[in-house]
């Protein structure tokens, strides 16, 4: 009896945790997307200010040598207006293409893949989109770890293979399947299910990569702690 209610409670708790985790993940992803939009607007403003300032400065320098006159002033004003409009209305920077992901530097790779995934997200079914959020979260954790990794080591090759090749190729393959066939069962599995399973595996593997890359630092920390114990604690006892 009690074991039944225990099991019930445990399953309820697990569901609650999962829902909360999903919710948090979604909120986190949402906040991030908004923040990214804000950041891109801010950089755009900065670029406009810099370009206008450069034009003004150039006009001043030229004005010292040859007086610009009224038409010159008007010309400068028009030029500034044109540049401002051009930068403000220019289309947003496009996310990296799949082929570019294969060549990008290993340290910048997680961030680039993240942007690429963000761009694919709207086209994916809901469960897969949630997984994509979790993967971008994992990629964020992976990014600083790669700072100390040499580009031609085995670990770097492993990361490149998964994050730079397998993951984009997998999502692209799914994208090529016609929308009408995505929910249709084939050999016991649907493409949607296949996508979720694959993304789950990828998410797990990225988490394990983080773990593997941290192994050396974890070991070193433990070793140093043990050394301090041996030298200043065990020694005093013995």
């Amino acid at each position: 009896m009690s074991s039944d209610s225990d099991a019930l409670l445990a399953s309820a708790r697990a569901t609650f945790d999962r829902v909360r985790e999903d919710y948090h993940g979604e909120v986190r992803g949402h906040v991030k997307r908004i923040r990214r939009r804000g950041r891109s607007a801010a950089t755009r403003l900065a670029v406009i200010a810099a370009a206008d300032a450069a034009i003004l400065l150039a006009a001043m320098v030229v004005g010292f040598v040859i007086p610009l006159g009224l038409f010159g002033f008007l010309g400068v004003m028009l030029l500034m207006l044109a540049v401002t409009l051009a930068i403000a209305l220019a289309p947003a920077a496009r996310p990296p293409s799949e082929t570019k992901l294969r060549e990008v530097d290993i340290r910048a790779l997680p961030a680039q893949t993240e942007r690429w995934l963000e761009a694919q997200r709207p086209a994916l079914p809901a469960p897969a989109a949630r997984l994509v959020d979790r993967i971008t979260h994992r990629l964020e954790a992976l990014s600083p770890q790669l700072a100390g990794v040499e580009a031609n080591t085995a670990e770097a090759a492993e990361v490149r293979k998964l994050v730079g090749e397998q993951l984009p190729a997998f999502v692209t393959d799914y994208g090529k399947v016609p929308a009408s066939l995505r929910g249709v069962e084939r050999n016991g599995r649907t493409p949607d299910g296949e996508l979720v399973n694959g993304l789950q595996l990828i998410e797990r593997e990225i988490a394990q990569m983080t773990e593997r890359l941290a192994q050396g630092d974890l070991d070193s920390l433990q070793t140093r702690g043990r050394y301090l114990e041996m030298k200043y604690k065990d020694g005093a006892d013995g």
Binding site: Q166, F170, N187, G188, N197, G198, Q200, L201, I202, D219, Q222, T223, R224, G225, R226, Y227, E229, M230, K231, G235, A236, G238
Partner: protein, 403 residues
Amino acid sequence: MATQADTLTIDPPLNLTPPDPVPTVQAEKAAGLVPVDTGTRSKLDDKVDGFVAELVAQDVNSPEFGRRVDAITAMGQKEIRDAAGQSNRFLDRPVRAMDQEGGVGKDLAQLRRIIEDLDPGRQGNLTAPKKLFGLIPFGSKMRNYFDQYKSSQNHIAAILKGLASGRDELLMDNAAIDTERANLWASMGRLEQMIHLSKTMDQRLEDKANELDHSDPAKAKAIRETALFYVRQRTQDLLTQMAVTVQGYLALDLVKKNNVELVKGVDRASTTTVAALRTAVTVAQALANQKLVLDQITALNTTTANIIDSTGKLLKSQTARIHEQAAASTIPLETLQRAFQNIYDTMDAIDTFKLKALDSMKTTVTALGSEVEKSKGYIARAEGARADGKLSGPEMQFRLEAL
């Protein structure tokens, strides 16, 4: 007289015991060394039961059956890969420990050279008056002898500092070994779980095949020829890797014990050297009425006492005794000689220890090296199985992994 000289060596003789070489661990005996608790055991058993039930429910020729057999061939590959990755590192450590040059070894050799130069026994008759051209009395041999201490004190201080930092390196090495051993212990635990899993699987499949012999002989045959065959292969792989890992675990312990003994030796070498120098100060006072000031060494005494705790304790108890004996003794030079003898004894003990330890280490490394070589074939097989189905690999519910 003799008793006085003997009391100086009242400290127990330095006994450095070289650890025994690590025996080769047979694959058959490798399992069962790391305990798997009953809770985990029953969970693994449930996993096997569920797996076998699903396997038997499938049609023998269906892709689903094939997928489950694939899961068996991939069984424990992660655990084997992890353990094998570590085995390359643990072979490295004993090899480095065998390296005689550098670290403590170099400092000890230097110390021996300098101590031999100062040894009163090699100075001829110190009490005989010194004569110019063998005729005219000129200066004192004794004075010249003690002056040598002043000139070499800087060098000795540097060596003692080197020994102290070498000792720290040995401690650091042991701390690293502790970490590696903790990691290995965890890997061995997971390997043990996988061994338990694969052995249970073997048993269950065998039972199932026997059961099916009458009702469905074709299925019984398929189970025996595919599933059971791979299970046995994997069991062998896991056992081989386990044997190598256990052996590496023991080899690391050997290196650690070795280091602990070396630390003892270094401690004693520092203590006896400082003690001899202190004796020299007292003897100089008594014999030549010479005030021998060894500032460097005195400064070092305080730092050494702080750095090396055990040495500090030993020194404290010794100093009072040395003072008493050297001042009161009618034969102070003999006391000094005895102090030098202490250093020699210590260094000889370290040398013999090193020789014997080197033997143990060599035997261990050779045995371990050949075992690692042997296991590489199995690892290659595991890796091959892995390369086949990486991303499209077995689904979550078929994964046979340690908990």
